[in-house]
Amino acid sequence: MPQLDADRVRGLIGDDLIADCSSHGDTAFTVRREAIRRVLRALREDDVLRFDMLMDLAAADRSGLQERSERFEVVYQLYSLWNGWRLRIKVPVPEAELHLDSIHDLWKSANWSEREVWDMFGIRFHGHPNLKRILCHHEFVGHPLRKDYARSRGQWCATTETLEDELALVHEEERRRARELGDFEPTEAQINERMLVNIGPSHPLSHGTLRVLVELEGETIKHAIPEIGYLHRGFEKSAEKGVWNNVMPYADRLNYVSALSNNVAYAKAVEKLAGIEVPDRCKYIRVVVNELSRIMDHCVCNAANIVDVGALTNFWYLFTVREKIYTVLEKLTGARLTNSYARVGGLARDLYPGFAEEVRAVLRECVPYLEDVLVLVKNNRIFQERTVGVSAISAQDAIDYGWTGPCLRAAGVPLDARKRDGYYFYDEFDFDVPVGENGDAYDRIMVRFEECFQSLRIIEQALDRMPEGPVNSELNRFVLPPKEEVYRDIEPLMNHFMLVMFGTPVPPGETYDSFEVPNGELGFYIISDGTGKPYRVRVRPPCWYLYQAYPQLVQGAMVADMAAALGSLNIVAGELDR
């Protein structure tokens, strides 16, 4: 794969370039605030660069950093699907003028992210159609991710939003579209005749904490308005309070169905920033636990999805698979669900003796369950009628929304960071990337099933090739000294104390690192100020971008299709709301 042509990017930015701030192998440019729309549009439309995905849009409050800069910075992570290139564009925003142009019309994925930046930092986006809080509740005052907002200053919420303002917006949009197409505009009376149904946040369909307000005409969904933030528990703020390794348990609870993948993703990102290379054995172990998590995650997702469309037996079958893998992981890590196994620069502990045989045995037992479920649903007429053609999305739209992972692959785009970036020897394993055709719920479910089988292949190979040796990096200053030594000698005891209290300094700088977790690309954008604590940890949650497309997916569908659509996206609230 050829390298990104940085000169071409520089040429496109032209006089609006402030600085080249590439580091850690990332290409990054700082751009003048007034020119951001022009620059991003040019990067997107350029024939060679073709940055067609906005992977992430976030901001940072840089007031605590040593360097002289404007207080805020808005950061755009671009990805060129065609070339596999990444590019970071940063825009300084001075405290006196907290605003810049919205790009919600360039990428659909920008819409919610801009709202989040407004919510968390108070930066306004000109031209955004619906700039209001998204994660914090509507009675919240202030912007919590600013450095001067005290972490534990909670604010009570007495009422729930009616969402009438957003309803008015979608009606406005509907009228505008009707005018464009030369159709009849819906009259006030027609709109009043529709029925409003509030679904969630506590509803079996809503997987915990999602709320959707739907407007129905008969049983057809005219509009769906999702409201999120009912599980916003402040990951990004909490990550700033402890040392680097303290983020690990929080990372567990992002996507709690596959906690180990999040662990590994975070550790990998910090290692990139700190310049640590982990031993080969560690990489193979990380591959094994990541793939085990993928199987579990897909099993839970498919189980819930299939039960949502009415087939209960499969739920028990798939949960048996999950339970079996849990038992192994519990033995390895001490916890069933939230494992906290990875560490920066290595792992909490090595594998126990006999792990490989046990995993092989468990996986052999799991295969019949997966196959049985496939026999039950694959050609089942009822199941097909509930899922085939339901909530279909085109590849172009999926890219525009920033979709990644199995949902994007079900829409026919074979993007898999494991194959493409080839970290942790993924490029040496023999496995296939299943791809769907129609991008509907059925394809998403089937892609997940197939990925389970591919993960089995990867685990088998990784166990075969796993070398002996240490699991922690030699030069690793993050790892706690062995407990026996801590109890015996003063030197390891002091080390332990310093590591726990003050952490290991990471050189100042920033980086973005991505990892293919079961749901798609989990990215971490990390800024270090040179101390033992993270300065800013921004997560790029795959669910966030998947769920943004939900109103479009269910528009015009039946109410019952909402369940199939939602389940097939695998929205995990812990990751969506963080």
């Binding site: 994660l135 914090c136 509740h137 919590p144 907002y149 005290a150 972490r151 534990s152 200053r153 909670g154 604010q155 009570w156 919420c157 007495a158 009422t159 729930t160 946040p201 506590s202 509803h203 079996p204 915990g208 904490t209 933030g229 009912y230 599980l231 916003h232 528990r233 402040g234 703020k237 909490s238 348990p249 929080y250 609870r253 709690y256 169905v257 839970v300 739920f315 028990w316 949960f319 048996t320 999950r322 339970e323 849990y326 069933r336 669900l337 939230t338 609230a573 812990g574």
Partner: protein
């Protein structure tokens, strides 16, 4: 005397009415899973075959507050969720009980920040707290047994 003998030889047993009622209540709890986060996944584990909550008569999971008498708050409750939690609790018909599953629901857990409610007992009365992050399924079952004991001790005229 076993039940078969009881039925054939002596079809009547004498007991206090409220004891019989408590016995019936504690063995047929209808849980409403107020599942928000990680603990809800473990709750699913408790319901499914390996741990099987139906051994304790509480397998009929109802998502409607009108049909349930045990609210299991499993997961973090944030301030935004508070009005909903209160409302759902208010919609449940008495007698009703609440299990706070996991440390997040019990005290906010390690989410000591601007958005997380520091314990649901600030807004709804809690009968049993189950520790853990998340609690293992056995621990939740233990909490359920504790609740059953508590229900057993409650008397008819006492407020549930």
């Amino acid at each position: 005397m076993n039940m078969a003998q009881l039925a054939t030889h002596d079809p009547f047993i004498t007991t206090r009415f409220d004891a019989a009622l408590a016995w019936a209540r504690k063995n047929s709890l209808f849980p409403l899973p107020f599942g928000t986060a990680c603990c809800a996944i473990e709750f699913m584990g408790v319901v499914s075959s390996q741990f099987d909550i139906s051994r304790f008569g509480a397998e009929i999971v109802r998502f409607s507050p009108r049909q349930s008498d045990l609210m299991i708050v499993s997961g973090t409750v944030v301030y935004k969720m508070v009005p909903i939690l209160r409302r759902i609790y208010a919609q449940m018909a008495a007698p009703k009980w609440v299990i706070s599953m996991g440390v997040c629901a019990s005290s906010g857990g390690f989410y000591d920040d601007y958005c997380t409610l520091q314990g649901i007992d600030q807004v709804v009365p809690v009968d049993v707290y189950v520790p853990g992050c998340p609690p293992s399924p056995d621990l939740l079952l233990d909490g359920l047994l504790k609740l059953q004991k508590k229900i057993d001790e409650q008397r008819l005229l006492q407020k549930a």
